[in-house]
Every structure is written in structure tokens, then in C-alpha cells.
């Protein structure tokens, strides 16, 4: 009973309780503060490790096409990230940090994705072409793909025309057709100018498997000649139509045709013959236009009298194999401008995927490897657990 009323040591107990509470409160605050500090440190280290891992970009891809992508696999990226994070954790003495788990995903960042490629292309197009910086000693073995193939192409190797009639109709039905084009279409065109050859390209960009690359982008046949023939066919078709419009609007030409038609088929069939002769004349003129283009001469898109080369009499005398006839006034619109017009109204996705095809084929020749553009990645996403806390994010070029 005496012990219950004894007051000795009461103050000590009181002080222990108070000090204990203070110490507990201090430790709680220290733990919370270190938790918060750890969060920002971890994010800083993850970002740093991500940048370090992405620094291993594919050199040939960057030097030839100014594209940044890494061909490291998920496992390799995993190892790189683990290495950089652990090394950083070991070297810092402020907080104890432990890497618990790491999960890297990169599928959604494949350069085979047309949107990601377009983004990279837009970023790089404002700089001078990078292929001029490649050492002349770089090996380019075109025979390599002849022997081993170029693997699965991003466009799946589907050839064919990529401008559909609805697209053209919609395009020309707008008042300001040129303004209706998105700026990206011009960026893509500039990239094609800088990094791909075409039939009349001067000087030719070295390290290219195909010579008519821009024509490949339009038609997608794995053969230079076939793509050029398809472009010739389409050019002549378009020019025939434009030449017909010119003939119809020129009264002198219409009169000549009417006289010729009257002589050939007098009577009610005159109109039909006149139309047929006009088509023939426009076609021959278009064929002459192609020869002019191939010989580095210009062809006016909407011709006036002085831009017209073939006379009606001259058309009859001329054999198809003969050299071209020059118009009175030479035009400034050359092969490349016509090619550009076709490329500008081409289907965006087809254009991007065929550009990727060419990149894959040329890099295969440069690196003598089974290079696949789909296996190159412009970044990765991560899910990392450090000291039991999860961090999600992405790292991209």
C-alpha cells in the first residue's frame, strides 16, 4: 500500500514519458522527411539512368537518316537501368536506397510506328542532312540483302498506288488546295528531299540500295525500273488530262482538229472524231512532256500556247522513239516538282511506311545485319520499385 502512495521518482517517470514522446515525434518527422527526399532522389536517378540507357542509340540510323532509336532489347535495357541505378545508389551516402523491382516495356515506342517516325522526322528535318558526315570508309554492301534478304518490311512489302481517286477529288474540290495540306506533308517532303534519291537526283546520295527511292515511296515495287515505269504512266495520264483541257480552251487547236475530223469522217461523227483526235494529240504531247522531263527540261503544268511543243502535223510525222520537241518557252517545272506534287497528295501512312522500308533496306546493307526497323525503339516505359515505393514513367529521345 505504501508503494501506491509513494511519490519518489514521479518526476523521472514524467520526464521519461515526455522525452519519449518527443523522440517518437522527432523520429516520425525524420522518417516522413526522408521518405519525401527519397522520392525526388529516386526520380532523379531513374531519369538519369534512362538518359544513360538511351545514349546507346543506333549509330548508322542516326548518321544516315538523322533518326534516334535504340536497338537494345527489353532485357538489355533492364540490365542497363539496373546497373546505372545500383551504381548511383551505392555511391550516395545520404539515404539508403534499394532497388526492389524493375519492369521495362518498349513495344509502344517501336520506330516501325508511323506516328513516332513522323515525329522524329519532323524534329530532324530542320537540320542539315546528316548523311554527308558519314565517313567515306563506311561499307555499303548491296549484295548482302540480295543474299540474305531485308526481312519483314514495315509496309509489309505491299506495292501499289497510294493515291486514291476520292482523295484526289477531295483535294482538287477545295478552293485553296495547297493551303489545305497539313504542314507535316511539307515536312515529310523535305525529309524525302534530304535523305532519298530519285531518278533525276543530283548529286546522288550514296549508300542507297535503290536509285529511284522517291518513286519507290510512291509505288512500293522492289524494282527501280518498275517504279519509274509506274510514275511515267501516271505522269502521262495526268498530263494528257491537262493537255486536253488546254486543247479545249484553245480555239485555234479546236479548229485544226475540227478540220481534220471533217476530212476523216464527214457528217455526224465529226464531234466524236474531233474528241478522239484531241485525246491522241494530248497523249502525244504528254509523251513528249515525259521525254522533256527525263532530259532535265521543264514542263509547264497549265500550258499556254507558247508552252505547247507538238503541232498537229508534227504529231502525225513523229515516231514514238524520236527525241523530244522543245516548246517555244522553257518552263521551270522539272521532274522533281512533278514528283513532289505526287508525293504531297500521297496517303500519309503509306508514304511513312515506305520510307521506313527504304531505311531498313539501306541499313541492312550498311551494317550487313538482319536489321529490322520495328526492333528499334524511340524510348521505353518503366515501372520501378525502390524501397517499396513504385515509380512509373517514360523516357524518350
Amino acid at each position: 500500500m505504501d508503494r501506491l502512495v509513494e511519490k519518489c521518482g514521479m518526476i523521472s517517470v514524467f520526464l521519461i514519458l515526455v522525452l519519449g514522446s518527443i523522440m517518437a515525434a522527432v523520429f516520425i518527422f525524420i522518417a516522413a522527411a526522408s521518405d519525401k527526399a527519397e522520392e525526388s532522389m529516386a526520380k532523379g536517378y531513374i531519369h538519369l539512368a534512362g538518359r544513360s540507357s538511351l545514349s546507346e542509340y543506333h549509330v548508322s540510323l542516326k548518321e544516315r537518316y538523322s533518326l534516334f532509336a535504340t536497338d537494345l532489347t527489353v532485357n538489355q535495357l533492364d540490365h542497363r537501368m539496373t546497373f546505372y541505378l545500383r551504381e548511383n545508389f551505392l555511391r550516395q551516402k545520404t539515404l539508403r536506397m534499394e532497388l526492389d523491382q524493375i519492369d521495362i516495356k518498349n513495344r509502344e515506342f517501336s520506330l516501325g510506328n508511323a506516328d513516332l517516325f513522323e515525329q522524329q522526322l519532323i524534329d530532324g528535318v530542320c537540320y542539315p542532312p546528316s548523311h554527308g558526315l558519314i565517313s567515306e570508309l563506311q561499307i555499303f554492301n548491296a549484295e548482302w540483302v540480295d543474299v540474305y534478304g531485308w526481312g519483314i518490311l514495315p509496309s509489309n512489302g505491299s506495292p501499289g498506288y497510294s493515291i486514291n481517286l476520292t482523295h484526289i477529288r477531295d483535294y482538287f474540290s477545295q478552293k485553296n488546295s495547297l493551303l489545305s495540306l497539313k504542314p507535316n506533308a511539307f515536312n515529310r517532303l523535305e525529309y524525302i528531299h534530304k535523305y532519298f534519291n530519285h531518278h533525276k537526283k543530283e548529286p546522288v546520295i550514296s549508300n542507297s540500295y535503290f536509285l529511284n527511292e522517291a518513286e519507290y515511296i510512291l509505288y512500293g515495287f522492289p524494282c527501280d525500273e518498275k517504279n519509274l515505269n509506274r510514275f511515267q504512266r501516271d505522269f502521262i495520264a495526268v498530263r494528257t488530262l491537262l493537255n486536253l483541257i488546254h486543247i479545249k480552251e484553245d480555239p485555234e487547236k479546236m479548229r485544226t482538229l475540227y478540220v481534220a475530223a471533217s476530212l476523216l469522217t464527214p457528217g455526224p461523227k465529226v464531234v466524236a472524231t474531233q474528241l478522239a483526235l484531241a485525246g491522241l494529240w494530248a497523249g502525244f504531247e504528254a509523251s513528249n512532256d515525259w521525254k522533256l522531263l527525263v532530259e532535265n527540261q521543264g514542263v509547264e503544268p497549265l500550258k499556254a500556247k507558247e508552252h505547247w511543243a507538238l503541232t498537229f502535223e508534227g504529231m502525225a510525222d513523229k515516231s514514238p522513239d524520236e527525241a523530244y520537241v522543245r516548246p517555244k518557252i522553257e518552263s521551270d517545272v522539272h521532274y522533281q516538282e512533278y514528283l513532289d506534287a505526287f508525293l504531297l497528295i500521297q496517303n500519309r501512312e503509306n508514304q511513312l511506311l515506305r520510307m521506313l522500308d527504304l531505311i531498313q533496306i539501306n541499313i541492312c546493307c550498311m551494317t550487313e545485319s538482319h536489321f529490322l526497323i520495328q526492333e528499334c525503339f524511340t524510348g521505353f516505359s518503366y515501372d520501378i520499385v525502390i524501397n517499396g515505393k513504385s515509380y512509373h514513367g517514360t523516357e524518350t529521345y
Binding site: K7, V18, I22, A25, V26, F29, A32, A33, S34, K36, A37, E39, S40, K43, G44, I46, H47, G50, R51, L54, S55, K62, S66, F68, D123, G124, Y127, P128, P129, S130, G132, L133, G379, Y391, H392, G393, T394, E395, T396, Y397
Partner: protein
């Protein structure tokens, strides 16, 4: 008799010591809160800057939702390399018996770096040469 009487001495001592002890305890707790706020706010400032620089350079995301948290970010693009300047402060105001005012200001800078552009830029210099 009164001088010899020791009753109430504990009470008197307690009356003298307790306010002092309480003051010490409260001061310690306030200091802890203040220091915690410092760490919290500077950590938020750093995370804000990191997320914002990643966003500006389009080089990724860190999964941090940029919140105001009394953090002010200022982008300076006119410099050779664009930079983000961030600042925040924490303050403690006591308007009671003893008037106390304390404020700590934090500032930090972070460059907006897009390595890809930097490499291309160097390459374009090479091609000019």
C-alpha cells in the same frame, strides 16, 4: 514553522519548470514541422522542375502530377540553353504572446535538355565546317 514546512515545494518547482519544459517541447515540435516542411517543399520543387523539364523537352514523363504547391516556375528561353527557374518558400508566423516570423526561400534551376537536338546541332556545325 512555515520555513520548515516542505509541503507544496513540488508544486512550486513544477510551476517554475513546467512552462519551460512545455516551451522546449513545443519549440522542438515546431522545429520538426518546419524542417519537415522544408524537405517536403524542396522535394516538390525538384519534382516539379524535373517533370516540367521533361515535358518541355518532350523527353518523357516522371508520373508526377504538377501541382501548384506554392511553386512558381519561370522559363527563360532567351538564354543559350533554355532553363526553368523554380522558387518556393515556407513561412512560420506566430502572433500570440510571443510574435515570431520565420521564412525560408528555396530556388532551383534546371536546363531543358533534348540531347537529340543537341547532337544534331553539333552535327550541323560540323557540316558547316
Amino acid at each position: 514553522m512555515i520555513a520548515g514546512n516542505r509541503k507544496g515545494t513540488v508544486m512550486v518547482e513544477a510551476a517554475l519548470v513546467m512552462p519551460l519544459a512545455l516551451l522546449v517541447v513545443i519549440t522542438l515540435l515546431v522545429m520538426c514541422v518546419f524542417l519537415y516542411q522544408e524537405v517536403h517543399q524542396s522535394s516538390n520543387l525538384y519534382q516539379n522542375l524535373l517533370e516540367e523539364s521533361c515535358y518541355e523537352s518532350q523527353t518523357g514523363t516522371t508520373g508526377y502530377n504538377i501541382s501548384n504547391d506554392f511553386i512558381f516556375l519561370k522559363k527563360s528561353r532567351l538564354r543559350q540553353f533554355p532553363q526553368i527557374h523554380g522558387e518556393t518558400s515556407i513561412s512560420y508566423d506566430s502572433r500570440g504572446w510571443v510574435s515570431l516570423h520565420s521564412q525560408n526561400k528555396f530556388e532551383a534551376n534546371r536546363y531543358i535538355i533534348k540531347e537529340m537536338d543537341y547532337i544534331r546541332w553539333i552535327d550541323s556545325l560540323k557540316s558547316v565546317e
